[in-house]
Amino acid sequence: MVAHSNHEPASSHDEGAPPAHAPAGHGTGHPHPPDAGFAGSPWIVLLAFILLFGAGGWLLRSFPDAVPFAVLLLPLLGFTVLALLGDAIRDQGEGAGACWLACGTVLTSFALAVATVYRVMQFPGGDTGLRFTQPYLGFEWIAAGSFRVQMSLLVDNLSSVMVLVVTGVGSLIHIYSVGYMSHDPDRVRYFSYLNLFTFFMLLLVLGGSLPLLFVGWEGVGLCSYLLIGFWFTKKSAADAGKKAFIVNRIGDVGLILGMILAFNLFGTLDLVDLVNNATSLTEESLWQLGPITTVCLLLFVGACGKSAQIPLHVWLPDAMEGPTPVSALIHAATMVTAGVYMVARLGALYSLSPTAMTVVAVIGTATAVLGATIALVQTDIKKVLAYSTVSQLGYMFLACGVGAFGVAVFHLFTHAFFKALLFLGSGSVIHALGGEQDMRKMGGLWRRIPVTFWTFVIDTLAIAGIPGLAGYFSKDAILGGALEAGRPVLFVVGLIVALLTAFYMTRAVILTFLGTYRGDAETGSHVHESPWVMLGPLVILAIGSAVGGYIDIPHFVEPAIRVGEGAHAAPHPVWLPIVASAAAIIGILVAYYLYLAFPEIPSRIYSSARGLARVLENKYGFDTLYDRIASRVIVGGSEDVLWRGVDVRLIDGAVNGVASVAAAVARSVRTVQVGLVRAYALVILGGAVAVLSYLLWRR
């Protein structure tokens, strides 16, 4: 299961020039995707770009309040166009034009988002520094009784950060995909899904009320389902997509029930009102299952589903069946952080419930440990990154749970850069190797694909927490937050996770890029650097990973969260950065010793600790347990007990029994040859007439 390597059709064409993939008119050499893209319809695409930007500029000047809606709806427009015209523009050149159109809508969205954020941040903020606007589209989505959901958005400090991440990183990944998917015959469908995803993700972060957030929430889950199962002919892909959706749905039920309870308690589901209400409520005591705690825990179930926390984390590693840019966008940078966003958004509510906060912190920390330990033994490069994501998301919830909501968003922000880059980099490696994902068949690639290598290294250092790079700042802040909240145990565990992170990421770098090449010669001879349409986004993200930590996200978003911020005014202890950096460096050095200097040691450790390795390789047995429950208890029970037992035998048996008795009676008294139906009908009709006549006569 672990060693199962996914062959990605997207990149299988560069090697050996299979005849089917060499489109007429493009020659037989290395096709350069961006050129191929513009070859078909450069003018149409250019015109579309000019139109999009022109319309955006006009909107900005004339109706600035409508701009957030344009940010939101442009990707939906892209999806609609691609979905309806998909068939018409499927051939090679036009198809690439369609891809660029998809990029264009998200890029325009990004540009408009920057303009909107800039505009909102010019507003005169109150003494808290909170600046916001709530544009309203002018109609309601649901209205029944006292329950009303308006189509209104919320742009404030927090959603600004999220919108910029979604559209910014989203644009880069769209562009990268043009190269990565350039040979896939179905890429128009791919880009339409990607655009639809961007729309729902923007709705999630911009929606002004919990129900609207929930539309985005389920919408991104749907797109995730469609994109994980993009190569639907592969059973494992279709299975993974379904699993992701169903596990997410379990979480969504928590969110639905949480919303219902919250509405019954507070009479509103508007995000601003909820937070405002919360400031006037009194804090519940620890381990008291009061209403606020219940709401928070139910909502957290939703967050666990979306953000892959124990016990609903099982879908995320399987989601790697999707194309790698999808893993970067959905399963690393944006969608999976939605749970963190929601908890941070309702931070004012959560901080009223010490119980919920403790649960969030403990689940987050446990998930961080689980992800980091399983990542130690993975051999599939994408699986390492997937478990790393699970672990980092746990880190963000740890931050939420100790009340450092702004810091959680900070880590979300830096993680979006470095994890997107790691995935895209791994995609570049996989692309270079013709679909190979098994790190045991890699090695020594750094000279052949230098840009990929160096960006990957910068990122590994960033996620490990080497001083000066983005991950260092956010990770430090989380550890500091845990200390200040008086949770030394969580701090120590967090520190160990940081060490493990540095270790497994260095291991991945060494196995992939350093040492000697271990794959087959045929594949090895074709290794090549990716085209610039893919490397460009890598470089930009690498810059982000390097300098992203210097942006003071916590102070920027905290006014929107409105949690008493005294905690973060105090400086962290002086020794904290030193200890944290030491953990990172020790992790890197140990990995260096084990995998590069003395590569025979790991297998010795492996064989001496076989039991532990087995536990990790089985991923602590969650999948096995869930599979058993799903297939034996639910499916088996439904089939044998409910359907064949209750439905067929019990209910139908009883009805048929009555019917056969009646039939026997009818046979014994029949005078003429009648069909069954008519006999029954006659009996019933006769009875009814008799009752009727009796009643009428008695009157």
Partner: protein
């Protein structure tokens, strides 16, 4: 004298059916065209109801005339927010059903069109009738064409299914008839007029018996667990048009009957029974979804999913507050659209392969991309993805039912997870994977006619999911007054108490 628009709507299909009698049976195409244009015309005409409908409580387009004064029977018709959209749903689905079975009905085309028209007349009659006698006539008149539709144009076990359908529903309507007459005899109004009867109180002890009879009749129709086993058989054997109308409209008669008759006529009994109805509804939601999960037959899967979806409707009715009942009425419409569309999709597969076995399909997305996209969209609407119609109804129902019982809502929410399970598993086995059966490799994608069938449904599913107030705006005033008036007529006017709900919440918990 104003034009009785409702009478025109009910009579037009009957006139059409008579007209068909004069067209020779050989002219099959002429029959199809006449019936399709007539029903389309009726749909357009019915939109005049929406146009003229005011968002206020009370009956509109009301006409009341003496009919059999000696027995207190009147010709009394009218519509309110409960029936308005159900009428539109009927007139909307009928032409689409005719178009959908354009090339799948090969024998006795003439009789098929006639029966479909009579069926439409019967269904419209039930929704407009405000006199019990009239209601009963239409109720019965509607069953007969459906019986023949299943029995003549059905699949292999059609006779068995038709008989089962007939017996179940006849048993229900016989009970209902007895209850009607008893009500007539005992009520001080001495009338069959529904509006008059609701004004005249019935003794609480008698209410229990009458409510039980009404409830049983309607519960069979809905169908509620454990009276649902006729449904899968009827659906599997019925032709596509029959399944669509059966799921789309006929099942709604149950919920409509509860709201129009059982609850307002017997408020005290309804109050007593509501927690039990809610409990059975929740069992139906979970049970229907679980059984649906393991069906190897596409049509049976959809049929059991109906049991689950209509469980939501009944939960909303049982909670009986404005939010939950608006949700229930909306959910009835949603179910008509989504499940109707699902049956069309399944029928389109059947037209191509002549089997409902899921195992016979697989990998269709490579072969029939447009069909797959629309089918997936319909499935998503059925599993209540927000942004599509199903979510609005289910959410309102769960939100409103919170006051009835927390545990019931929590259990009902399990249905939401299971829906994702049975729908997506089915989607995977039908659409995804490699094409495993060689015959499936050459299946044609949707024809223009099939597009014309699915597109209106899909568009409606999106519109109803995005702009629900367009519809609920007209439903809400009637629901509000229904809930209020029923509450005031109760002997002990109080909303369903927590204690009663908790009492039932217990047994439900144990049953799992």
């Amino acid at each position: 004298m104003t034009l009785d628009l409702l009478a025109v709507l009910v009579l037009l299909p009957v006139v059409g059916a008579v007209a068909h009698a004069f067209i020779p049976g050989r002219a099959e195409r002429a029959h199809k065209i006449v019936a399709l244009s007539l029903t389309t015309g009726i749909f357009i005409l019915s939109l005049a109801l929406v146009e003229g409908f005011q968002p206020v409580p009370g009956m509109q387009f009301e006409v009341s005339r003496n009919w059999m004064p000696a027995l207190g029977i009147r010709y009394h018709v009218g519509i309110d927010g409960l029936s308005l959209w159900l009428i539109i749903l009927t007139t909307f689905l009928t032409p689409i059903a005719l178009l959908g079975s354009w090339s799948s009905i090969h024998s006795r085309v003439k009789a098929f069109q006639i029966l479909m028209l009579l069926l439409e007349a019967g269904m419209l009659g039930v929704f407009v009738a405000l006199d019990l006698f009239l209601f009963y006539i239409f109720w019965e008149a509607m069953l007969i064409p459906m019986y023949f539709l299943i029995g003549i144009w059905g699949h292999e076990r059609r006779i068995y299914a038709a008989v089962k359908f007939f017996l179940y529903t006849m048993a229900g309507s016989a009970l209902m008839l007895v209850a009607f007459i008893a009500l007539y005899k005992t009520s001080s109004a001495h009338s069959f007029d529904i509006l008059l009867l609701t004004q005249s109180p019935v003794a609480p002890s008698l209410q229990m018996w009458l409510f039980a009879a009404f409830a049983l009749a309607f519960a069979i129709k809905v169908p509620m667990f454990p009276f649902h086993t006729w449904l899968p058989d009827a659906h599997v054997e019925a032709p596509t048009a029959g399944s669509v109308i059966l799921a789309g409209v006929l099942l709604k008669m149950g919920g409509y009957g509860f709201l129009r008759l059982a609850f307002p006529l017997f408020p005290d009994a309804a109050h007593e029974f509501a927690p039990y109805i809610g409990a059975l509804a929740v069992v139906g939601i979970v049970y229907g979804a679980l059984v649906s999960l393991v069906q190897p037959n596409l049509k049976k899967l959809v049929a059991y999913s109906s049991v689950s979806h209509l469980g939501f409707v009944m939960l909303g009715i049982a909670a009986f507050n404005t939010t939950s009942v608006v949700g229930a009425v909306y959910q009835m419409l949603n179910h008509g659209i989504s499940t109707g569309a699902l049956f069309f999709c399944v029928g389109m597969l059947y037209d191509r392969r002549h089997t409902f076995a899921i195992a016979e399909y697989g990998g269709l997305k490579s072969v029939m991309p447009w069909f797959s996209s629309l089918f997936l969209l319909v499935c998503l609407s059925s599993l209540a993805v927000p942004g599509l119609n199903g979510f609005v109804g289910e959410f309102l129902i769960m939100l409103g039912s919170w006051s009835l019982s927390h545990s019931m809502v929590a259990l009902a929410s399990m249905g939401v997870v299971l829906a994702a399970g049975y729908v997506l598993w089915m989607v995977q086995r039908v659409l995804y994977g490699e094409v495993t059966h060689a015959v499936n490799r050459t299946l044609p994608d949707l024809s223009a006619r099939e597009f014309a069938v699915l597109i209106p449904l899909v568009v409606l599913a999106i519109v109803m999911g995005v702009a629900s107030p367009l519809f609920t705006r007209l439903i809400e005033p009637s629901v509000q007054s229904l809930v209020y008036e029923t509450g005031t007529r109760m002997r002990k006017p109080s909303p369903p108490t927590r204690a009663a709900a908790a009492m039932v919440g217990g047994p439900v918990g144990e049953r799992r």
